[in-house]
């Protein structure tokens, strides 16, 4: 069974997204630990990409800060090795297809397995292209996470049936970023997912407040938050871990209600 399943055994899962190396890897490590200590159930680690086409302005800027700071895929692998000494909850990478492909897909994915990365989220790899990475992911026991979007409609069942680890439900049209309101009928989407698989599903894109997290948790198995956390890093830099910890705690508590 996928290790990722453990993230969904402690009530609704809270999943923070953190761009590695923003502003530096030492801060990333401290932020991850603060999130874990305050109730995060799964950590989504972003490997920065020069041209992140699925991201809004906040995470784009984090990618640029991290790359300008000199972070590389190899340095991020080292970060995970260091984190795995004490971080026991599941961790997944979120990055773009070229970061994996260019490194050598097998070399990248086998390293993920070796250092304790449980899954891979590639927003520019849809169902039709998953064969590029899926056989290698299976070989090394790394879950390739499927995404389902508000426009997926007739594709939801097809994607859900073959999903592994967890399903990333994209809440809204467009790119990542804080939204004041999420209008998609997510309950209708998660209903179809549940009819087709018992793989848990978590909702991401646009979630920032405890109220939104509670709403999302009500119709799914968890909530993914990126831009709101990146904003704290942008604002507080090396002092961010404390604020991220408090934020994670408030979100996890809101989802438990």
């Amino acid at each position: 069974m996928s290790n990722i399943r453990k993230a969904f055994e402690n009530g609704k899962a809270f999943i923070p997204f953190i761009t590695c190396g923003d502003p530096d890897l030492k801060t990333t490590a401290a932020v991850v630990r603060a999130a874990v200590e305050n109730g995060a159930d799964l950590i989504e680690l972003g490997i920065p990409f020069s041209d992140p086409t699925a991201e809004g302005p906040v995470i784009q800027a984090a990618n640029i800060r991290a790359l300008n700071g000199g972070v590389t895929t190899d340095k991020i692998f080292d970060l995970v090795r260091e984190l795995r000494k004490d971080v026991k909850i599941p961790m997944v990478f979120m990055t773009y297809a070229n970061v994996v492909f260019s490194y050598g897909s097998e070399r990248f994915i086998s390293t993920c397995s070796e250092i304790g990365i449980d899954g891979l989220i590639l927003p520019d790899v849809p169902y039709e292209e998953k064969e590029e990475f899926l056989p290698i992911c299976r070989k090394y026991g790394v879950d390739l996470i499927s995404l389902i979007a508000p426009t997926s409609e007739n594709r939801i069942a097809m994607i859900a049936k073959e999903a592994e680890g967890f399903i990333y439900v994209v809440s809204s049209l467009g790119v990542t970023g804080v939204r004041s309101e999420i209008k998609t009928d997510l309950g209708a989407i998660t209903d179809i997912i549940r009819q087709n698989t018992d793989v848990p599903c978590a909702i991401g894109f646009g979630i920032s407040t405890p109220e939104q997290a509670a709403k999302m948790a009500a119709v799914s198995d968890g909530a993914i938050v990126g831009s709101a956390i990146i904003k704290l890093l942008e604002k507080y830099g090396a002092d961010a871990p404390k604020y991220v910890g408090e934020y994670v705690k408030s979100m996890k508590e809101a989802m438990a209600v």
């Binding site: 990409f49 020069s50 041209d51 086409t53 699925a54 809004g56 784009q60 640029i64 790359l67 590389t72 895929t73 190899d74 773009y96 297809a97 070229n98 970061v99 994996v100 492909f101 260019s102 490194y103 927003p123 520019d124 790899v125 849809p126 169902y127 039709e128 292209e129 590029e132 995404l147 389902i148 979007a149 508000p150 426009t151 997926s152 409609e153 007739n154 594709r155 994607i159 994209v170 049209l173 467009g174 790119v175």
Partner: protein, 396 residues
């Protein structure tokens, strides 16, 4: 040449967010229907002929031929099309298709501004809303085209992210499309991006090689020995090559922008300096670093200043059917001036890359050989920038 999954050999594919998948599937289905629809084809042909001015001339460049003393040189005059470049061929096709699909809004990326102007033109003609994304750097390099787009009723959005050039404009247009799909068609300007774009754009641009073939058979009674075109994403090149791919004796030569040289980092010669990667919806060659971060490319030509190349070109390179050669800024500027002086034709700085390579190979060829150069666009837009390159301080 396209297989059912949109692959050209290993290249191509659909590496895009799930949010866009139904949109590209809908586009593919509509295209497959309308490309066989006689009414659609009648309307498109009428637009191309009556509005855009097709067929474009295949002009015998006699002075250039005599001056170089080698192959007989013909120029395929895409610069004479309405809006001044080959871009209109594709745009009229896609805009008409979008309209048939019930879309009311066109979005587009643009580098030099030619594709943006063409899209704004088609939107004006067909009564559609239009938003063009253009790198901020390019809005400065090509200020006149920005004005033209606004004059035509389009909104121009300067893109400030990344290198603020063509690749960032493509990224921003893709982001915009994911946020608004139901009424919006992304009118992609080159043979790139996710399937079915490389195939659709190629089919709409293939009119160039179809005409060259007919015109050269009429004038010379034989096929050319070589066809040259500049390559950024590669739409005028694939259009110029397409109907000659089956004619193995015709050399197909794509001229890439080498910027300050392929041994420098200031280059955009993707096939010559890049390696296989996945970006902007496709697998192809890309300029990138060892970790797959896309490289900040450079060329004097805003239209060729792109770190990737269309997947069909990548495939033609892999199988050795087409050659891709680097041409530097200096060589292109020399050719820009040469064609202006010699033939009285001011080519786009993009097209001047193809002219530059012809200047190298034509003298080595024999007078019974024929060389066709596609002049993909006219050079009015570049005059101020080239003057500045030569140290003259002129402003539009």
């Amino acid at each position: 040449m396209t297989n059912p999954n949109g692959r050209f050999g290993i290249h191509g594919g659909q590496y895009i967010p799930e949010t866009l998948m139904n949109a590209v599937i809908e586009l593919e289905e509509a295209y497959n229907y309308y490309k066989k629809d006689p009414e659609f084809n009648r309307e498109l042909t009428e637009l191309l002929n009556e509005y855009a001015g097709r067929p474009s001339r295949l002009y015998y460049a006699e002075k250039m031929t005599k001056d170089l003393g080698g192959a007989k040189i013909y120029l395929k005059r895409e610069d004479l099309n309405h809006t001044g470049a080959h871009k209109i061929n594709n745009v009229l096709g896609q805009a008409l298709l979008a309209k048939k699909m019930g879309k009311t809004r066109l979005i587009a990326e643009t580098g030099a501004g030619q594709h943006g102007v063409a899209t704004a033109t088609a939107a004006a003609l067909l009564g559609m809303e239009c938003v063009v994304f253009m790198g901020e750097e390019d809005t400065i390099r090509q200020a006149l085209n920005v004005y033209k787009m606004r004059l035509l009723g389009a909104e121009v959005v300067p893109v400030k992210t990344g290198t603020a050039t063509l690749k960032d404009a493509v990224s921003e247009a893709m982001r915009e499309w994911t946020s608004r799909i139901s009424d919006t068609h992304y009118c992609l300007g080159s043979v790139m991006g996710p399937h079915p774009f490389p195939t659709i754009v190629r089919d709409f641009q293939a009119v160039i090689s179809k005409e060259i073939k007919e015109q050269i058979m009429e004038k010379e009674g034989r096929l050319p020995d070589a066809v040259l075109a500049c390559v950024g994403g590669g739409s005028n090149a694939i259009g110029s090559f397409y109907h000659f791919i089956e004619d193995k004796d015709v050399r197909l030569i794509g001229c890439e922008a080498a910027g300050r040289g392929i041994d420098t980092f200031e280059t955009a010669a993707t096939v010559n300096t890049g390696r296989v990667g996945i970006f902007h919806g496709m697998k192809s060659y890309f300029c990138q670093d060892e970790y797959g971060q896309i490289a900040p490319v450079y060329s004097i030509s805003a239209g060729l200043d792109y770190p990737g190349v269309g997947p069909e070109h990548a495939y033609l390179h892999d199988i050795g059917r087409a050659e891709y050669v680097p041409v530097t800024d200096d060589e292109a500027v020399n050719a820009f001036e040469y064609l202006s002086r010699t033939e009285g034709i001011i080519p786009a700085i993009e097209s001047a890359h193809a002219v530059a390579y012809a200047l190298k190979i034509a003298p080595e060829m024999t007078p019974d050989q024929i060389l066709v150069i596609t002049i993909s666009g006219r050079g009015d837009k570049d005059c101020a920038a080239i003057a500045r390159y030569r140290g003259e301080d002129i402003h539009e």
